[in-house]
């Protein structure tokens, strides 16, 4: 689907289930160095949210980002998602320098490489599920017929085959989030950027959505950056990144990446010595 770096996808489909194929840091999918974000720059209200963040995600990783409100994780996510520009620092995605792109180039690059899943679903209410899923394909210039086929296929995959013509207002929260995930997958992007995707769901539905992410990570090799408040869900992921005051406390690999992928084994993977635990207790 995406052509920016074919090498990224060549070795992805078959072996992702095997734990030994987890990328060993050779090619970071996204690599941020010295990212600074200052709001209201040049005024007396200037506030620096990110003072210089280094952050990288490897292909196939399922990284969770945790932190208190105001810790800068949303700002980081906006920059990862190319919705916002860093004040300073470098950001390369699949080897390409995205900071050099203008808005429209970023818009296209975003549609090809990043699928968003939001806490509040962010579906467009007055059009059908199918049309919602078709939208990223439309902006990527995919012809109408292929667009429809792809959207139908994705909704079927999400178990939403019988809800394609429904508007989002006619769907439950879990169904909405499944439509949103189908939409995020529309252009088959290598990265899924999920901002509290279970935050608005009850625990059972949240569990189902979480399982879906594990499945996508495991079976389709999707790299996932997952922002959450929920320590249990964070603990299921391959790596947990904690943000405090705009700085990253990184490197907490889950005990067993392979085990961490197993949804039912998620809680077992939680290491009580993780520094994030007391932090989350404080929330």
């Amino acid at each position: 689907m995406t052509s920016q770096n074919p090498q990224d996808y060549l070795d992805e489909p078959t072996d992702v289930l095997a734990p030994q194929t987890q990328p060993a840091g050779a090619g970071h999918l996204l690599d941020m160095r010295g990212i600074v974000k200052t709001f209201n720059q040049g005024t007396e209200n200037a506030i620096t949210v990110l003072p210089g963040v280094n952050f990288h995600v490897d292909e196939g990783e399922f990284v969770s980002v945790v932190g208190q409100s105001g810790s800068g994780k949303s700002t980081l996510m906006n920059i990862i998602g190319m919705l916002d520009k860093a004040t300073a620092g470098s950001y390369t995605f699949a080897g390409e320098d995205v900071t050099a792109m203008d808005d429209d180039e970023q818009a296209f690059y975003r549609s090809q490489n990043i699928g968003f899943v939001f806490q509040s679903f962010n579906l467009i209410g007055r059009i059908s599920s199918l049309k919602n899923v078709e939208m990223p394909l439309m902006y990527a210039g995919v012809p109408v017929k292929e667009r429809r086929e792809r959207a139908e296929y994705l909704l079927e995959q999400m178990g939403m085959a019988d809800r394609m013509g429904h508007n989002p207002s006619q769907l439950s929260g879990g169904q909405k989030q499944r439509v949103a995930i189908a939409r995020a997958l529309a252009n088959d992007p290598p990265l899924l950027l999920a901002d509290e995707p279970t935050g608005a769901l009850d625990s059972q539905t949240g569990r189902m959505v979480m399982d879906l992410f594990h499945q996508l990570n495991r079976e389709q090799g999707k790299t996932i950056v997952f922002i959450t408040h929920n320590p249990e869900l964070a603990a299921e992921t391959t790596r947990v990144v904690t943000m405090v005051d705009g700085r990253i406390h990184d490197g907490q690999e889950a005990a067993s990446p392979y085990m961490a992928h197993q949804p039912q084994a998620g809680v077992q993977a939680l290491d009580p010595t993780l520094p994030m635990t007391p932090l989350q207790g404080g929330q």
Binding site: N78, G81, L83, D84, D103, D104, A107, F108, R110, S111, Q112, F116, F118, N122, L123, I124, R126, I127, M135, P136, M138, Y139, A140, G141, R183, N187
Partner: protein, 432 residues
Amino acid sequence: MNLRESLILALGSLRTNKMRSFLTLLGIIVGIASVIAILTLGHALQVQTNRSIASSGANDLTVQVKERPDPQASASPSNDPYGGLLGGSGANPDTDSKFDVDDINLIKQVMGDSIAGIPIGDSGYGGSYMPLTANGKEASGNAKFVNEDALKLKPLEIVAGRNITAEDINTSRKVAVISTETVNALYDGDPQKAVGSEITMDGTSGSMTGVVIGVYAPDTSGGIFSYTDTSAYYMPYTVASAVSDYETTEWSTITVRPSENADLAQTKAKLQAVLTQMYRSNDNFQAEIMDFSASTASFNQVLNNISMAISAIAGISLLVGGIGVMNIMLVTVTERTREIGIRKALGATRSAIRTQFVVEAMMVCLVGGLLGVLLGGALGMLGSNLMGLMVLPPLNAVLTSLGFSLAIGLFFGYYPANKAAKLDPIDALRYE
């Protein structure tokens, strides 16, 4: 994201807010409808007037016999085109130089289909006042002594009997064609009773009794040039001497009525050639053509200008409608801020967002324009029907107004659309 997609998106959002869309459309509908209605009525007036002009003889070629310009004279009379009409310096032509009935027949023969006829005796609205008596009753009447073409070329309908024929003229029959008004006064309104009955007219030099051969109905087309003297009655010019001091069998001025579908310039050139030939051996006089088609053209021009001016005033309401469109588009952009954010996050470029909203504004205006054309066309056709002649809205007016409404959509839609395109995706996504 092509134009078709934008159209579908735009139609979708028009459907979502039906009431609001309609109210927005209303401004455009009223503007376009009034422009189209005015132009249709103007067109109707013009068509009707031109018909009226044609039937009243404004396209007639007036042929006048004039003295040949003297090469030695410093001021040539022919330099003054109205010299003859205004009784200028030209000498009166002698009898031989005037047109007689043979000349007229010759011209008709040579000109063939390109002319409708050469009416005689019906110039102007006047006539000789000669009251009529029949059945012991008296009615006022204006006698017109005409040839067979005169009545035929008037927009009058013969409702009973027949018209005056060439034979009536040639054999000097004392026959008359009278109006329905006269029939009302003398024959109790029964045309059948009138036809064939005797009628007496009191002339300036004696009275004459003739036979009614036909009854005409006055012109009711209602054009601004139509005028019917309802007391006029028509008789062959060859019987005029019986009741009047003058009998005319030679004319220094005749009018030639071109056929409706003939090319006026060609007809004129051909006629001039014929006349030149006829007067080739006349050393003192020649025949000149004067036509007044230029005044018809300038009349049309004035009418056009009036239509355009009124339309432009009506067009101001379009401006108001356009501001309404801009207003509602600004509301729409604000209302759909979050959607714009979502679309941007999903890869919509600025130009894709801008196109979507501009197309939406243009769709509102185009739909409004189409409805306005339908409404204005219907009103215009109704109005023109009431004026007596139904015409369709002029095609170029329809196309221009549709183009104009699209332009309004573009102009007033661009600012809101650009505002939408420039929204920051994060702010837009956070917007509640």
